[in-house]
């Protein structure tokens, strides 16, 4: 294996499944309703670090949801993240995960926003309650 030993962190399964992919990390909470565009698959929140950064197929990592029930926009449409990993959640993220029906986890033993950086390769095993983080991406030495 050419990508080194992963960092494994454990969390609680919200929605089951296994998937691997490149991480997209939001250092700030994400906000739905008019501030997400599910057709194009990016946030339209002004001044947000992920403004217009596509999340389709990414392991979307964020600290928490905020705002309106329209947060579930992140889980609607065709351009979905490959998985959701978030530090904490409430009914907003619950409904979003149920909409998207992709692997999702929260309540980790280490904060995923601290551990994971955008571009890291992450193997999500929601069924068994852990993720493996490969720093520096899929082919890092």
């Amino acid at each position: 294996m050419d990508r080194g030993e992963p960092i494994r962190i454990r969390g609680r399964k919200e929605f089951g499944g296994k998937v691997e992919g490149e991480a997209l990390v939001s250092p700030l909470p994400l906000e739905g309703f008019a501030n997400v565009d599910p057709v194009n698959g990016y946030t339209t929140e002004r001044g947000h670090p992920l403004f217009k950064v596509p999340y389709e197929g990414k392991i979307l990592v964020f600290p928490a949801p905020r705002g309106s029930g329209g947060f579930m926009g992140y889980g609607r449409g065709e351009k979905l993240p490959a998985a959701f990993l978030h530090t904490e959640g409430n009914t907003l993220s619950v409904a979003c995960v149920m909409c998207a029906r992709v692997p999702a986890m929260t309540d980790f033993d280490r904060d995923p926003v601290d551990v994971i950086e955008t571009g890291d390769w992450v193997a999500v095993n929601a069924d068994e309650g852990y993720i493996d983080v490969f720093k520096g991406g899929k082919t890092a030495e």
């Binding site: 339209t44 705002g67 309106s68 009914t91 619950v94």
Partner: protein, 426 residues
């Protein structure tokens, strides 16, 4: 997860396919949320229409809803319609006077009001108040400790913090029909205690201060339950401003104002006798930073003014009518209210004052929920942190940007009369 015998029978199909589908939805929601059981509702519910589920996977067609309604099936608890039907919330009243096709056409209006769906929901007992703050007009409030299923971020703390009833943000057909929700979050007494104490440098007193403070508290506290100390005592309108703004900057389902809100006779009680995890102070710099974040404009020319996010109640309309008496506005000026109050505002003479001033009373929606302003509007002035922060999301393209002016109601009125923004943080 613990499932009662009655709930198992529903899962086995004893009450039909839609009851089973609704129960499957609730059980999945419990599993995702980490809830170990369901709880029976004894308060009220609201939902966004016309969708039959919060989640597309569980939606069912109108034929099945018709069969239920014709079979005499009813919602388990009093259930209210939130805003006008999705996905584009059209104008309930006053649409004829708004220059924004297709909302101002009879055909467009009728189509977007989803009459066929709404007739079936009404047959099942829904009260079609169609507002984000329908609770101002509902004439029937859940009492302290009752379990509810509401679905409007700005309304959630009105239920939890102000009424002392209990809700997460999960109101939908399936919770209202079965009269059950997952038992977690704000339904659990332990989770309702404050964990953060928020102090302020300035005594929060005016409407705009409660709004900007709410946005800052939301950003600082995230999902936590704060106890607010050293604020003024908020009016009802200010409570709505705080609730709405704190659910834009964050997701504050519950908070306490010791000596004011029902679960906080004292700060110690609000904290459940424990030490807070965090103590923060919202200083002058923080308030100013929030005010500036809510503003997003380059020039000072205002094309449109929109007030009433969340929808204005009767006292708000009366006070605004007092300010607009004898004035003339020179740009489109929307005043948004609750459909159930529209005719009342007409009867009380407020609508005539607005009409005479050149303003338009509209109900049931707002520019952000409509997906943007009427065509040609390049700059908007608002008195709401929520409206200010969301609506620019409808204009992400640099060559199609919307200049957004946020400030006090008086700043907005001045802008409507002069066409120029002169507001600033004071």
């Amino acid at each position: 997860m613990y499932v009662t015998d009655d709930e198992k029978r529903i899962l086995d199909g004893a009450r039909g396919a839609i009851a089973r589908l609704s129960m499957e939805f609730l059980i999945e929601m419990s599993e995702v949320a980490g809830a170990e059981r369901l709880v029976d509702l004894d308060g009220t519910a609201d939902m966004h229409t016309p969708w039959t589920s919060l989640v597309p996977h569980y939606e069912f067609p109108i034929e099945d809803l018709r069969a239920l309604a014709e079979n005499g099936e009813k919602f388990k608890v009093p259930t209210f319609a939130n805003k006008t039907p999705l996905p584009i919330c059209t104008i309930h009243d006053g649409w004829e006077y708004c220059d924004c096709p297709p909302h101002n056409t009879k055909e467009g209006h009728e189509r977007m009001m989803e009459r066929e769906w709404m007739a079936l929901y009404k047959k099942m007992g829904m009260l079609t108040v169609h507002s984000c703050d329908y609770y101002l007009a509902m004439t029937y409030w859940p009492t302290q400790g009752q379990h509810c299923s509401w679905n409007e971020s700005s309304a959630i703390p009105y239920c939890n913090a102000i009424l002392g009833a209990r809700t997460n943000i999960d109101g939908c057909f399936m919770t209202a029909y079965l009269g059950k929700v997952p038992y977690y979050g704000m339904h659990v007494p332990e989770n309702r205690y404050a964990t953060v104490v928020v102090d302020t440098e300035r005594r929060i007193g005016s409407d705009v201060e409660w709004d900007v403070f709410g946005f800052a508290v939301g950003e600082e506290c995230g999902l936590a339950v704060p106890a607010l100390v050293n604020t003024g005592k908020p009016t009802t309108s200010q409570i709505l401003k705080f609730n709405t703004a704190s659910n834009t900057g964050g997701s504050i389902a519950m908070y306490h104002i010791p000596g004011t809100t029902p679960e906080a006779p004292t700060l110690e009680y609000a904290l459940g006798g424990r030490k807070p995890k965090r103590e923060i102070r919202i200083g002058e710099d923080r308030l100013r930073a929030s005010y500036e974040k809510l503003n997003s404009h380059r020039g000072d020319r205002v094309d449109m003014v929109s007030l009433g996010c969340p929808h204005y109640g009767m006292v708000d309309l009366m006070l605004l009518a007092r300010k607009l008496e004898g004035k003339k506005v020179r740009v489109p000026f929307w005043i948004m209210t609750i459909p159930w109050l529209f005719e009342l505002a007409e009867r009380e003479g407020f609508k005539k004052v607005f009409d005479d001033a050149g303003a338009t009373l509209v109900s049931g929606t707002c520019p952000a929920a409509m997906g943007g302003c009427p065509p040609g509007v390049r700059s908007l002035a608002v008195d709401s942190a929520k409206q200010a922060y969301y609506i620019t999301g409808c204009y992400p393209e640099e060559d199609n940007r919307l200049d957004l002016f946020y400030g006090t109601q008086d700043d907005c009125i001045d802008a409507a009369i002069t066409g120029i923004w002169r507001g600033e943080w004071r």
